[in-house]
């Protein structure tokens, strides 16, 4: 069993940002990533980011991933990175087990940061298992990471930022987006993303969802149905749309399993996307020196995940007696950044969620 100061589970925006700060503080760090590439969802985000300069606004996500990875290069003597490696379990005595191919590994860490991110929610409807029905993440992986067209005519379900951005990226790839369906009475994501689609001729149908899919070996057509303000189906409102792919983008839920299984106190908070760990102001869960940051603590944008990662890195280092040379400045700066990202009307859900979790903004 190997012993390390800090193990970070998840090499996305939160985990990478946490690693940098912990390395700057002088810790030995092991970073474990399930996927082949570091960067998490950033590696598929071909669009320019929102936020402010400190969160790399106007830089494309794919390039932010490169920056965050390059930031770690200077610390190669203190950093080990395991890619294609899935953490299987976390135990209360800070033991982590993982598998890489057929290789089983075991670590004991003085501190742990869980930055596992989130997984996509799915939707129940008739024939939702026909080939050609994808989650938005899968479409982005195929298209933006591997250069494979997911179809030629796609219908998008969900008008949150992911649904809108992936629709735009589909059009950039030469795919026709036949419609964006939204069950509620208004567009969920940023209006600027919606406007980009409408001017390209994509209809956004609010109060509408997918009722059933048709096709035998692959999807050929869907029926949509209108919903009334109580989200009940409106009789006789079904319409058909031909398509060879359907993309489901109806939200994310935190990947909480490692935290849940090890005995951290968890709370179900709808506004944060599901089960999240209870944590204190130091980003520490109810298990001492187990920290959590990014989407696993509540669904937000990647910008917030990066800032939370920095905070968790600062706090984890501090808990082991390694105070970052700019601890106080960085702490104040990152807290201010988080507040700035969350304080507008778009941050209302996250603010309500954090309040329910007993955390002040």
């Amino acid at each position: 069993m190997r012993e390390r100061d800090l193990i970070i589970v998840g090499g996305g925006p939160a985990g990478l940002s946490a690693a940098k700060i912990a390395l700057e503080s002088g810790l030995s760090v092991t970073l474990i990533e399930r996927a082949h590439d570091l960067g998490g969802q950033l590696v598929k985000q071909t669009h320019k980011f929102f936020g402010s300069k400190s969160e790399y606004a106007k830089t494309r996500g794919i390039d932010i991933a490169k920056i965050l990875i390059a930031d770690l290069e200077a610390y190669s003597s203190k950093l080990e990175i395991y890619q294609d490696t899935t953490v299987l379990a976390m135990y209360p005595d800070h033991v982590l087990t993982a598998i890489q191919g057929r290789n089983y590994m075991k670590w004991k860490a003085k501190a742990i940061i869980i930055a596992t991110g989130a997984s996509e929610k799915f939707l129940a409807f008739e024939n939702n298992d026909i080939p050609g029905i994808y989650g938005a993440g899968a479409i982005q992986t195929l298209m933006n990471q591997y250069g494979i067209m997911p179809g030629s005519e796609v219908v998008m379900v969900g008008s949150g930022n992911i649904g809108l951005i992936v629709s735009y990226q589909l059009i950039q790839a030469g795919v026709k987006v036949k419609a964006v369906l939204e069950a509620s009475d208004h567009i969920g994501g940023y209006l600027v993303h919606a406007s980009k689609l409408v001017r390209l001729g994509v209809p956004i149908k609010t109060n509408t969802t997918v009722k059933r899919a048709y096709g035998t070996t692959k999807i050929e057509r869907i029926d949509t149905v209108r919903l009334d303000p109580q989200w009940q189906e409106v009789e006789g409102s079904e319409e058909s749309i031909d398509c060879d792919a359907l993309c489901i983008s109806v939200g994310l839920s935190p990947l909480h399993q490692l935290l849940s299984m090890s005995g951290c106190e968890m709370i179900y908070i709808n506004e944060l996307g599901g089960l999240v760990p209870k944590k204190n102001e130091q980003y520490e869960t109810t298990m001492p020196r187990v920290f959590a940051c990014g989407d696993v603590t509540g669904i937000e944008e990647a910008s917030s995940a990066m800032v939370e990662g920095k905070l968790a890195g600062l706090m984890a280092s501090y808990s082991l007696g390694y105070e970052h040379p700019q601890f106080e400045t960085l702490k104040a700066e990152t807290l201010h950044q988080l507040q700035n990202l969350r304080q507008g009307p778009c941050g209302i859900k996250i603010r309500q969620g954090l309040e329910k979790a007993g955390e002040a903004l």
Partner: protein, 159 residues
């Protein structure tokens, strides 16, 4: 309304335009109708013409006496919500961000498109600008008859 249909109607669009006298010189038109945490327009403007302020959720305010219409905000806005407009010889000239293939070429005639995605008329591609700074966003200058000043938003290749 805009949260249901996803685009601004003409009334709303007009609130983002300065007077036509001011538009004899090129000016940035910022169509940011929603408070979102974002401020690259402010930080990219070399003339401090755009103000968002300490709270990055505020929508931008532009000072037309400082804006030179340089277009740096056009490719800096991650929402592709900024264009530069100018009126010259009864035509409206626009610098717009463009991120699709094929890239228009100078001198070509493309369709002019409104915010609803409908074809307005033909438009002339006047200029095509792309550099390391624009980071794979192309800035197209296109012109349409002046009557479409408040309608034009993008270009589409003619079939």
């Amino acid at each position: 309304m805009i949260r249901r249909i996803g685009y601004a109607d003409k009334e709303l669009v007009k609130t983002k335009f300065p007077s036509e006298e001011i538009l004899v010189r090129p000016k940035a038109i910022i169509e940011c109708y929603q408070e979102i945490p974002c401020n690259p327009c402010e930080t990219s403007c070399p003339f401090q013409a755009i103000t968002i302020g300490e709270d990055i959720n505020h929508t931008p305010v532009i000072d037309y006496s400082l804006c030179t219409g340089c277009g740096m905000c056009v490719y800096s806005c991650p929402g592709l919500a900024i264009m530069v407009a100018q009126i010259k010889d009864k035509r409206a000239y626009f610098k717009i961000p463009y991120e699709l293939l094929p890239i228009p070429q100078i001198g070509e005639t493309w369709h002019a498109i409104n915010r609803k995605g409908e074809i307005l008329c033909d438009c002339r591609i006047e200029q095509v600008m792309q550099s390391k700074k624009t980071d794979r966003t192309v800035v197209i200058t296109a012109s349409v008859p002046q009557e479409y000043l408040y309608d034009f938003v993008t270009v589409r290749k003619r079939p």
